[in-house]
């Protein structure tokens, strides 16, 4: 009796096991993307007048499509479902089959999708490919933020269509973010490294809230509230998404600067071309006048001349500025319409020469801004950034340095850093402290920064004395 029962159980379980194998096979052979591919083939067949071709379309094999982007270190399988991305006839097709208009040079086979849109390129199901919120590495970027990722490749010069990034970069430079945050491994680590912060695990909502009020999303955040307005918050969020530690091949790196006449004008001024050349008679006469040069020479010739002057004119005094392809393109674009007025305005921008002492102080001021000292000490050295349990409860002002310290002491604090004295001896360690800058700033630059600080002292002191 017992044996009979067990035998029946054995057969029943065998069938159950077999059924599960069938379920597993069925689950594996009916992925979402196959449904989409069938739909797409039907869509294609609808527009096909020839019956034979129609039948062929419907019988096309169902397979995973992938774009191997070795130059970007990515593999994108998005086109497994987004089958009409590079097919203009799919302009009005429903998603996920619609044609991606306006890509310009950013063709899908060279760039894939995820480098701009985020999401998980390797995934072949909607949920994983688009992500469910959370980190942006796994989630699609909201459409309004996609433009921010232009900065991942175009990280030199401005991107005309993304003014937010220009503004974001300006804010980061002027508000002293680098004083605490690392970027590509440089600068101290009071705050987290920003390079992959947005890319890896921050949503746009989190970033925007964070820039409005750091303490709102991270309790006890040491980051001072900078009271950014709405546009600035958006610009900084854009900037965060433009950062990436992604390694790119030369093909992509060549496009870091977007060529344009405005970039060309800037380069023309920066490289001091008017030191030898003139435009329509305005400038120097050492080299040829560049007015109308694009009419006299082909763009290719000028490009060759800029990139390798010695080959075109052996023995010429024109230096090789080692400009990238896009920088050269920009210069040529500028030269195409350059007028004597341009030359005049460039010359008028040139500042009056500084005395050696003034030059030291000025470059000290620039370093002070560049390394983010202003982030805590303020652009006017006024200090005042809240710092819990530090003496006085805030970051000290730097305008009375010479009353409390010797010049060498100041140098040493910058070099070796300092933890501020505690307000309450048994209280917590203050979140902000002076990092040791020795490893990030050269000795000469530290000297210049201190010279800048002392230049501010004297003025303040004089004010007080009177």
């Amino acid at each position: 009796m017992m044996e009979k029962r067990l035998q029946q159980l054995f057969f029943a379980l065998s069938f159950l096991a077999l059924a599960l194998v069938v379920v597993a096979l069925w689950q594996a052979s009916t992925p979402e993307w196959k449904t989409y591919q069938r739909q797409f083939h039907q869509l294609e067949a609808q527009g096909e007048p020839d019956a034979k071709a129609r039948a062929a379309l419907l019988e096309e094999p169902l397979e995973i499509h992938q774009t191997m982007l070795t130059g970007l270190g990515r593999v994108d399988r998005c086109t497994t479902c987004h089958l009409g991305v590079d097919d203009p006839t799919m302009k009005n097709a429903p998603e996920p089959f619609r044609y991606h208009a306006g890509l310009g040079p950013h063709v899908q086979p060279k760039f894939g999708c995820s480098v701009c849109h985020g999401g998980q390129g390797l995934a072949t199901d909607r949920e994983n490919a688009h992500g469910k919120g959370g980190s942006s590495e796994e989630s699609l970027l909201a459409p309004e933020f996609v433009r921010a990722t232009c900065g991942r490749c175009h990280d030199q010069g401005d991107i005309p269509s993304v003014p937010e990034l220009t503004e974001g970069a300006r804010l980061v430079e002027t508000r002293g973010c680098h004083g605490c945050h690392k970027l590509n491994g440089k600068a101290p680590a009071i705050g987290p490294d920003l390079t992959d912060e947005a890319d890896a695990h921050r949503t746009p909502e989190w970033l925007e809230q964070h820039f409005q009020n750091p303490a709102a999303v991270t309790a006890d955040s040491a980051m001072p509230n900078e009271h950014f307005n709405k546009e600035q918050v958006r610009a900084l969020t854009f900037y965060m998404y433009s950062l990436s530690s992604m390694k790119m091949a030369n093909y992509y790196l060549g496009a870091r600067l977007i060529p344009g006449a405005a970039q060309g004008r800037q380069l023309f001024a920066e490289k001091n071309c008017l030191g030898c050349h003139a435009i329509g008679g305005v400038g120097a006469r050492i080299g040829p006048d560049l007015k109308g040069v694009t009419g006299r020479r082909s763009a290719q010739w000028i490009d060759e001349q800029i990139s390798n002057p010695q080959m075109m004119y052996p023995g010429t005094s024109m230096p090789d500025y080692e400009l990238g392809i896009n920088a050269r393109k920009s210069l040529i674009a500028f030269l195409g319409n350059a007028t004597p007025e341009d030359a005049k305005s460039i010359l008028s921008e040139n500042k009056r020469a500084l005395s050696p002492e003034q030059a030291v102080v000025e470059s000290g001021r620039l370093e002070f801004m560049h390394f983010g000292c202003a982030g805590c000490h303020g652009t006017e050295l006024q200090g005042g950034t809240p710092n819990k349990n530090a003496q006085g409860g805030e970051v000290p002002a730097l305008v009375h340095l010479d009353q409390d310290y010797t010049h060498d002491e100041v140098l040493n604090v910058v070099r070796k850093g300092r933890v501020p004295p505690l307000e309450k001896a048994n209280g917590p360690v203050p979140p902000l402290y002076m990092p040791a800058w020795k490893q990030f700033i050269s000795e000469e630059d530290i000297d210049r920064i201190v010279a800048y600080l002392y230049s501010k002292q004297e003025k303040e002191k004089a004010d007080e004395a009177w």
Binding site: L6, L13, L20, Q27, R77, D125, E138, T218
Partner: protein
């Protein structure tokens, strides 16, 4: 001609006489490899489900599932930090049945750790480690440790955040041992941190060294079951047979326990074994005539039950794998420590202890546990297997088991950021901050 060839091939495979002859019928049993691992006959009472719960068999079958799924996974996996995670993603998204395969491998692995532990509990509570089975208990403990080693080395292979940090924490716990700890850790990792050298080493251990070792131990373990007189008798059988007859035992090479320690002189009348001289009575628990009547043929009685246990295991693993996929977190990032970073779940008891005292959790507790487990059959001098007569050791062992399980539960579910005590129903915002 062809018929002759076919017959020759057939006879080369089935080396027995036709079943129509008496000799052929006998050889069907004698020459059968499965009936070689099993005895041809087993005691009826030992087949009872509630005696063994078939836990040892289920554990072994989970290992078989792991070998099969593991070999298939090896076809798609390359143990290099730059490729491993990519391969995991391919398994998840592009390989036919990849997610099912991975899930089956992972859940069978966790199942094996659990089953091997439950099997140990069963053997302990039924007192089956007692004479003559002491050494098989030791082999069993080694099998348990090898299973943990297999699970631990496999944990790193996906090369995601979960894998990286679990192994970092796990190997750090091992590093607390004085003198040898840091050295063993360095040999295991091929460096001071978990990196590409560690990945290759863990891979080699996981797919070659530890499985071979486990199979070897299994061979000894199964062989010893037969040589120690088959499965131990159920406890209820002991109650019905009041004065348990102490079975006369003679082990190969060594004299009976009662005999003074000396080598037996070889005799002309005796049969010579290959290595030692066999003397005295048969080498395992002698079967009394009344017991002979109580035994049944392994085929079909034992085989049928084992097949059912096998099917239930297979169905369990498949059903869970169809519904719950194996986790895969983001790519391993040595610069980004998750908070809290946890070891694999079966080491969370140790990690919990380490959080109180590194020396206690990293050195004392694991050393005492392993040594105590290995020594149990030799420390427990009480010959009785009856529960009522083993109160002390049962109490000690139960406290040990409950404490372990409780610590693992606390470590798994009640520890939040900064290893602070956070109940699982409380959500902690921030997380990695």
């Amino acid at each position: 001609m062809t018929m002759k060839l076919i017959r020759e091939i057939w006879q080369s495979i089935v080396r027995r006489d036709p079943l129509s002859t008496e000799k052929g019928k006998a050889e069907l049993v004698f020459l059968n490899v499965w009936l070689h691992i099993h005895p041809a006959k087993v005691k009826r009472e030992n087949l009872r489900f509630t005696h063994t719960f078939y836990l040892g068999f289920i554990t072994f079958f989970l290992f078989v599932i792991l070998v099969v799924t593991g070999i298939l996974l090896m076809c798609y996996y390359r143990p290099d930090p730059s490729l491993a995670y990519q391969d995991m993603k391919d398994l998840q998204f592009a390989v036919f049945m990849g997610p099912f395969l991975r899930a089956a491998h992972r859940w069978a692995a966790h199942g094996m750790v659990i089953c091997v532990f439950l099997h140990m509990l069963r053997v302990f509570y039924t007192g089956s480690y007692k004479r003559p089975r002491q050494f098989n208990w030791v082999v069993g403990v080694l099998l348990f440790l090898t299973t943990l080693g297999l699970s631990f080395t496999g944990y790193l292979l996906p090369w995601d955040q979960l894998a990286f940090w679990a192994i970092t924490v796990g190997t750090n716990i091992g590093g607390y041992a004085p003198v040898v700890g840091p050295m063993v850790r360095e040999i295991l990792l091929g460096g001071h941190t978990v990196g590409e050298a560690a990945l290759v080493r863990f891979y080699v251990l996981h797919v070659a060294v530890l499985p071979s070792f486990l199979i070897l131990l299994c061979v000894v373990h199964f062989w010893r079951i037969r040589k120690d007189g088959g499965l131990s008798r159920p406890l209820w059988k002991l109650k019905s047979a009041p004065p348990e007859p102490e079975p006369e035992l003679v082990t190969i090479g060594a004299p009976a326990a009662s005999a003074p320690l000396r080598m037996q002189a070889a005799s002309r009348e005796k049969t010579y074994g290959l290595m030692e001289v066999v003397t005295g009575k048969p080498i395992f628990e002698t079967i009394l005539p009344e017991e002979e009547e109580d035994s049944v043929f392994s085929y079909p009685y034992a085989f049928l039950r084992e097949s059912i246990a096998m099917l239930v295991t297979l169905i369990g693993v498949m059903a869970v794998s169809l519904v719950v996929h194996a986790p895969l977190e983001e790519l391993a990032n040595p610069a980004k420590t998750p908070n809290p970073a946890k070891a694999p779940w079966y080491f969370l008891g140790l990690q919990e202890l380490v959080s109180h005292s590194a020396f206690l959790g990293g050195v004392v507790a694991p050393a005492v546990m392993v040594l105590a487990l290995l020594a149990i059959p030799y420390l427990d001098r009480n010959p009785s297997r009856q529960l009522a007569k083993r109160k002390w050791i049962l109490a000690i062992f139960t406290v040990f088991v409950v404490a372990n399980v409780a610590l693992i539960i606390i470590g798994t579910f009640f520890r939040g950021p900064g290893w602070a005590l956070v109940p699982p129903w409380v959500h902690v915002a921030g997380g990695t901050e």
